[in-house]
């Protein structure tokens, strides 16, 4: 990135690509050529910047000018005004929602101020399809250092001392895992990268693979050196075509540069990586299930022990780590364990990436030091709740986690605090909910997910979750009774205690945490047959507010079942016995004359 005076970084993450960032890149290139700037300015297609809410994003270096919501038609202006005349395009700058000031430099944005990027260090800075750019940011330096200066044991000690814990959910100490696999005797060992990110609403692993695939390759090679493996496998979701493509490109480049393959850097160390595609099964995030899936079998978990570190892929010792965990490794080697373990809390070191989504102003991918509070994440970085509504709950840990209330907003986020609060870190999904979200429906939503994803091997999970779902369904239809809440709790504990794998053991968490934190909502559903948030369709009634209805007949014409009657310019009427509660009248009405009750 040295030959050009200016660089235009265009976000090529899945979110921005879905909003035509490909076309933006092409238009920018076109206008750069048209204005004869091709020797001065270069367009770089990078990984995710994280600020998905404001995408597509284009950043201009030098100056760090951060353009948001860019459309292909804006390319001409950016090139002619900013590049040629040196005048940033004001209308595309980010406006701070509080101060209403335009902020040009992304470093000045609240969204970025409290972040600390270790795992995401290169996402949005480099072209992931160019190994040179990775190398220019200290890439493969850690691998070189390990192979030439450190013994496997010394590297393991460094990782252990850093305090790095698995970022995929469980939080198992990474160094310890490596040590156990190192000590297992075998003729063949394997390094596996778990990129089967199945938690709905989490996309951090995908963004790392899309934005910085070489960091994973480097870390896997370091791990291979430590445990004595010469083969690595990346198990990745088939639903992530862009990540797969970029990883393939990166693997080929690493091989060309002699950083993968035989006799790496002339040290006699051999290591290569192949890709295994997942096929859409959430349970395959569990390491034993993942290994069976790689062997071409149904992804059903098996009992531990034996742990994969002793007997894993094809019965050989296998070290499984998740993408984000690996992304931290090269930095720890380069900057030292003592640098890393000063970040974070006593038992959770370093940073954590979260996919911030839901009813929040700044949806996106963020990375913060462990110990940051939920309030800082939601209000400072996330910009608060959408449309000025009231915060109700934040869900962490995906289908295995729980919903936390505003009482927990000042809890520092780390592995142990989240578990103590009745949720968990999980892979880092963080979904914010507002006053309009019904917590019983949310619990039901997660149960639907578990139900579909349960592999069916053991009955507590296969049958128990089905029963939980039936009870929740009954409650949301207004057919529940107070005793059902006790039944839900009891059955949840049985499922947790008796399931074989992590999926079953954690699947009732959304039910238990919503009952613990929002029992009044459950009670309103069963006793008063009311949904306080107005979400449960069967407990709702769509009615016409006579004073507001102008008799425009729009609802009458759009009602799919003919439940609405009324004369032109006269208030209309909805026949509740015919109404199917589809809500079309509610969305169509221009006068807010349809109310929910």
């Amino acid at each position: 990135m040295t030959d050009y005076k200016m660089h235009l970084l265009v976000c090529g993450g899945t979110g921005c690509k879905a909003a035509d960032s490909d076309e933006i890149r092409n238009s920018l290139k076109y206008w750069i050529e048209q204005t004869g700037m091709e020797d001065d300015a270069q367009v770089v297609f990078t990984g995710c910047f994280g600020f998905c809410e404001k995408g597509p994003i284009v950043k201009v270096l030098p100056g760090n000018t951060f353009y948001v919501g860019v459309q292909p038609g804006d390319a001409e202006e950016i090139v002619k005004e900013h590049l040629v005349k040196g005048r940033p395009v004001q209308r595309l700058l980010y406006t701070d929602p509080v101060t209403k000031e335009e902020i040009s430099d992304s470093k000045g944005m609240e969204f970025y101020k409290k972040q600390m990027r270790i795992a995401l260090r290169n996402c949005g800075f480099i072209n992931p399809e160019n190994i040179e750019e990775y190398i220019s940011r200290d890439g493969y330096m850690a691998l070189g250092k390990c192979l030439t200066e450190l013994s496997p044991q010394e590297v393991i000690s460094e990782i252990k001392e850093s305090g790095l814990r698995g970022r995929g959910g469980g939080g198992f100490p990474t160094g310890l895992k490596w040590e156990i696999t190192n000590k297992s005797e075998a003729d063949q060992k394997y390094v596996v990268c778990n990129a089967d990110e199945g938690d709905p609403g989490a996309f951090m692993d995908r963004s790392i693979l899309e934005g910085d695939p070489h960091s994973i390759i480097e870390a896997m090679a370091i791990c291979g050196y430590c445990i004595g493996a010469d083969k690595g496998l990346v198990y990745i979701r088939a639903e992530y075509p862009l990540a797969i493509e970029r990883l393939k490109i990166a693997l080929n480049q690493a091989r060309e540069y002699g950083l993968l393959g035989e006799d790496i850097l002339g040290t006699g160390f051999n290591f290569d990586i192949s890709i295994r595609l997942g096929a859409g099964a959430f349970v395959c995030g569990e390491e034993t299930a993942l290994i069976h899936s790689m062997e071409g079998l149904r992804g059903e978990p098996t009992f531990k022990p034996p742990f994969p570190s002793v007997s894993g892929y094809l019965g050989k010792p296998t070290n499984v780590n998740n993408v984000e965990t690996f992304a931290n490794v090269p930095v720890i080697i380069n900057k030292g364990a003592n640098w890393f373990n000063k970040i974070g809390t006593e038992k959770s070191k370093g940073t954590k990436v979260f996919a911030l989504a839901g009813k929040i102003n700044n949806i996106g991918l963020i990375e913060v030091p462990m110990g940051t509070t939920l309030r800082e994440v939601i209000y400072d970085i996330g910009g608060g709740i959408k449309d000025g509504k009231e915060f109700k709950s934040v869900q962490t840990g995906g289908p295995s986690g729980g919903c936390l209330t505003k009482d927990f907003l000042d809890t520092p986020i780390d592995y142990d605090n989240l578990i103590a609060a009745g949720s968990m870190m999980g892979s880092g999904g963080m979904i914010v909910m507002d006053e309009d979200d019904c917590m019983v429906s949310i619990a039901k939503f997660y149960l639907e997910f578990t139900l579909e994803e349960s592999c069916g091997k053991c009955s507590p999970c296969r049958i128990g979750n089905k029963r939980l779902h039936e009870m929740l369904d009954k409650i949301t239809k207004g057919e529940g009774e107070e005793k059902d809440i006790e039944r839900l709790k009891m059955l949840s504990h049985v499922i947790k205690d008796t399931s074989l794998c992590g999926l079953g053991q954690s699947s009732p968490n959304p039910v238990l945490s919503t009952i613990a934190n929002f029992e009044d909502e459950y009670l309103a559903h069963v006793n008063e047959k009311k949904c306080p948030s107005g979400q449960c369709k069967d407990l709702l009634k769509y009615e016409v507010v006579e004073d507001l209805c102008t008799g425009c007949t729009l609802c009458f014409r759009n009602c799919p079942v003919g439940a609405i009657t009324g004369e032109r310019r006269q208030p209309h009427y909805i026949d509740q016995s015919i109404c199917i509660k589809c809500g079309v009248c509610y969305w169509k009405c221009k006068f807010n004359a349809i109310k929910l009750s």
């Binding site: 979110g15 809410e53 609403g201 071409g296």
Partner: protein, 170 residues
């Protein structure tokens, strides 16, 4: 279900894919991915050929096909519609959007319309949460979809201009 007689060149396609993976049983999932990519879906007859080539039982192949949601035993519509039901999309109203698609197309999830034009499916998180709720029609991503836009999206495809730009709605 009546049996389909596979065409000779279809059988050859399947056999070639199996051979590419050395007819190894451990490569079953990779074989299924590739065959589905080429044929569009994996009906029972195709699974029988794969089982024979990899020298394993049809039951095992069937077990794997039905275990993973990515594999399908029924053909998809010409324009497969996928509604993202990840949590982020769900809390931003994906369920209402899904219901509207069901109502407009008169199909349930996993089904195709009678004319074979559309099929309706749910998927878990595309990772485009910034655009939630998200709907995918073929390869095209529609962001921030409101139930009121559903009819228009369908009409666009019915009128044969589906790839036209109606996705940029705030």
């Amino acid at each position: 279900m009546p049996k389909i007689k596979l065409a000779d060149n279809t059988i050859k396609v399947i056999k070639d894919v199996c051979a590419e993976y050395n007819n190894s049983e451990g490569e079953l999932i990779n074989v299924l991915h590739k065959v589905q990519h080429k044929l569009g879906y994996l009906p029972a007859e195709v699974q029988e050929v794969i089982a024979k080539e990899l020298k394993t039982s049809v039951a095992k192949v069937y077990g794997v096909v039905t275990f993973y949601s990515f594999f399908s035993m029924v053909p998809k519509g010409e324009f497969p519609i996928s509604i993202c039901m990840g949590t982020a999309c769900y809390v931003r109203g994906a369920e209402q959007v899904l219901n509207e698609f069901k109502r407009q197309l008169k199909v349930e999830v996993g089904e195709s319309t009678g004319d074979g034009m559309f099929s309706l499916n749910c998927l878990r998180c595309l990772g485009a949460c910034g655009l939630s709720p998200v709907v995918m029609v073929g390869e095209k991503v529609y962001g921030r979809v409101a139930p009121t836009q559903v009819k228009q999206i369908i009409t666009d495809y019915r009128d044969g201009c589906g790839s036209s730009d109606s996705s940029k709605t705030a």
